[in-house]
């Protein structure tokens, strides 16, 4: 039996916004009967403000699929199309107080239907069209593009997680090698984003800030630099300016600008969003 939160159960037993809209301005459909879940989303959109005036859904699927659909329609009503597009599948799961990890694909389905409906509204092709990208998982019709997007957005690490979020690889298993390859490709991009450092406290003294920056650099950044023969050092902290120097191969590496951007985003995320990284000669 799945451990569903009270919120999931509430949205399953009392789903909000079920049904269709006769005069919908956009319709988004994802999934199929064969796959075991499907969602059809109807939107009424104000042509001037692009605000979503009304949203309805029809869902075929398990408890968390229905709950995710219901939650998503509640979340987007009153938002502009652009604001709605900023909602992630994690936001949908969070709204429901979390989903069992094997059910995360239900929240992805909610997000996909929303993207499809808005693309439809804008006269663009449906973004998660089966033809978009190379078909990886034949059992569930999942493309490499879709796997890559969801894996990056949700920082997925292994095949099991990819299956939980996209269903890819959950059938015959023949595509596991292909999924592993995609994961390897994006692992480099994910490496700098993966974290072993805990969430930063809200208020920090300068000393605490420096200590934390040093910790993040030592734990999260230097190991991957050292693997490629490079290294770095923290020189100083001036207000929100983090001064660093590259060492080893990094100091002559043409992509150090990229590395610097990576370090900055890591420090912004794990220490303080105002931090700016500056390379100094020292």
């Amino acid at each position: 039996m799945w451990e569903y939160t009270e919120k999931v159960k509430d949205h399953f037993f009392n789903p909000r916004n079920v049904g269709s809209l006769e005069d919908a301005d956009a319709i988004g459909e994802v999934g199929s009967l064969a796959c075991g879940d499907a969602l059809k989303l109807y939107l009424k959109i104000d042509p001037d403000s692009h605000k979503i005036l009304d949203a309805r859904f029809q869902t075929f699927g398990c408890g968390s699929a229905v709950a995710s659909s219901s939650a998503m329609t509640e979340m987007i009503k009153g938002k502009t199309v652009d604001e709605a597009l900023a909602i992630t599948n994690q936001d949908i799961a969070d709204y429901l107080g979390g989903l069992p990890k094997q059910k995360m694909h239900c929240s992805v389905m909610g997000k996909d239907a929303l993207e499809a409906a808005i693309a439809c509204y804008r006269g663009e092709p449906a973004p998660k069209d089966h033809l978009d990208g190379e078909l990886v998982c034949e059992c569930f019709g999942v493309t490499d593009k879709h796997i890559r997007e969801v894996a990056l957005e949700n920082r997925l690490n292994n095949i099991e997680e990819v299956t939980n979020f996209t269903k890819a690889g959950g059938g015959c298993g023949l595509c596991h090698d292909k999924i592993e390859k995609i994961l390897e490709e994006i692992r480099g991009q994910l490496k700098l984003r993966q974290s072993t450092v805990d969430v930063p406290p809200k208020e920090m003294t300068n000393i605490q800030k420096i200590a934390r920056i040093q910790e993040v650099i030592d734990k999260e950044i230097r190991p991957s630099l050292q693997k490629d023969g490079g290294d770095m050092e923290l020189i100083d902290l001036d207000g929100s300016h983090v001064k660093i120097a590259f060492r080893g191969l990094c100091s002559s590496c043409p992509s150090s600008a990229l590395t610097k951007a990576g370090i900055e985003s890591k420090l912004k995320e794990l220490v303080h969003p105002d931090l700016v990284v500056e390379e100094v000669m020292a």
Binding site: G36, G63, P125
Partner: protein
């Protein structure tokens, strides 16, 4: 809210009589049956009675019974023993619809031990093709392992006939009898079956106890190696409370066999007819005739099984589903897929499995609720109307 338990193929209520029989062995009579003193030794007498009762239910001799920890251990013991005692034979014949206790063991043996597994298919009613069975069993076959009754659909296989084919070719015959024991009268003595696995918790006794029938004269190698218990065929101090409870449950099952065939079957048939009469687009999965008297597997088109189970659960009704979403894997039941159940209804398949403890009132309540549940889910579903296409449809 009163619970209505219709999931007896998953596990069953311990019969109050079996519990009463077990209690002394969980309290005062904790002796070890192998001990030399009366306190322990007298317990051996109760174990012997349990063995006799179980042997009677199967129509075999008490010395042909080995108590184990359950269905899974019995399946592993039988198959591994058959392979170990026929080293020159490297093939296993089994079906695509076995319980994981057999299915995954055979996959493991193929993958890591180099055995060739011949996977028999089933037709859309869940029946085997005897010509295919006949063609698969050869003088290279070490063991034929075919379940007697399927846990999901209740479909019964002709294992007595298959055992004869196996015997002709010198192969050993094992059957997973977990679902059939206690539901259909058996007389194993008159068959060519070498091994039969059974499990206590499916026939109103405790979990973690089961037995393996081992036909006299069958070559055998133990799975659990240790002390001299179970005539040197399974080491380990006996699960005395479990064994005594299973013995009692076997005695009750033998008395209740007529009831299964009459009252339980009548309730099942009433449930089936009641649902089919009131719910459109529903179909029974599995052969109508060739089926356990307690099992009903029914597919509802355009709805998903987990949603149905959640709605049933809210009403206190326990059932199970072959849908992908309930299992944690993403694929619907391997049994229903092997039968080629159409994809429109495979995800919406529900299994009701009854027992002698169910009543007509319970069944009527379910019959009354089912159309309400299915209608409410269909009203939410994008399918089942005329617009089943998946496309961008801008006005």
């Amino acid at each position: 809210m009163k619970m209505i338990y219709l999931d007896n193929n998953a596990t069953s209520q311990v019969a109050p009589e079996a519990l009463d029989a077990m209690m002394p062995f969980l309290t005062d009579r904790y002796g070890n049956p192998s001990s030399m003193h009366f306190f322990g030794g007298s317990v051996a007498r109760d174990v012997a009675v349990a063995r006799e009762n179980l042997a009677d239910l199967l129509g075999v001799s008490p010395t042909e019974i080995i108590f184990t920890s359950g269905g899974t251990e019995s399946d592993s013991t039988a198959i591994l023993s058959a392979l170990a005692t026929s080293p020159e034979r490297r093939e296993i014949v089994t079906t695509r619809v076995e319980h994981p206790a057999v299915l995954n063991l055979c996959k493991h043996l193929a993958r890591f031990k180099g055995y060739t597994v011949k996977w028999l298919s089933v037709d859309k009613e869940g029946n085997l093709n005897l010509d295919e069975v006949n063609g698969a069993i050869s003088t290279h076959t070490a063991v034929v392992s075919i379940m007697w009754a399927n846990n999901e659909t209740g479909v019964i296989f002709p294992v007595e006939k298959i055992a004869e084919i196996a015997a002709e070719r010198g192969a050993l015959m094992h059957t997973d009898g977990v679902q059939i024991v206690g539901k259909i009268p058996l007389k194993l003595k008159n068959t060519a079956i070498n091994f039969l696995a059974l499990s206590g918790h499916k026939l109103h006794s405790a979990k973690g106890i089961g037995a393996l029938y081992l036909k006299k004269g069958t070559r055998f190698q133990p799975f659990m190696i240790g002390g001299h218990q179970e005539y040197d065929r399974r080491g380990g101090t006996e699960n005395v409370p479990g064994i005594v409870g299973l013995g009692k449950a076997a005695e009750l099952a033998a008395k209740g066999l007529d009831q299964e065939r009459t009252r339980v079957k009548a309730l099942r048939d009433r449930l089936q007819a009641g649902i089919l009469n009131s719910v459109q687009f529903a179909r029974v999965n599995g052969s109508l005739e060739n089926r356990l008297p307690n099992t009903l597997n029914i597919g509802f088109e355009f709805v998903e099984g987990e949603s149905i189970l959640l709605k049933l659960d809210e009403l206190g009704i326990c059932a199970s589903s072959g849908s992908a979403c309930t299992s944690g894997s993403l694929e619907p039941s391997h049994v229903l897929r092997a039968m080629g159940v159409p994809f429109t209804s495979v995800h919406g398949s529900i299994r009701f499995s009854l027992s002698r403890y169910n009543t007509a009132e319970e069944i009527d309540f379910v019959i009354q609720q089912m159309p309400v549940i299915i209608e409410s889910l269909r009203a939410m579903s994008p399918f089942g109307r005329d617009n089943t296409s998946i496309a961008c449809t801008v006005q």
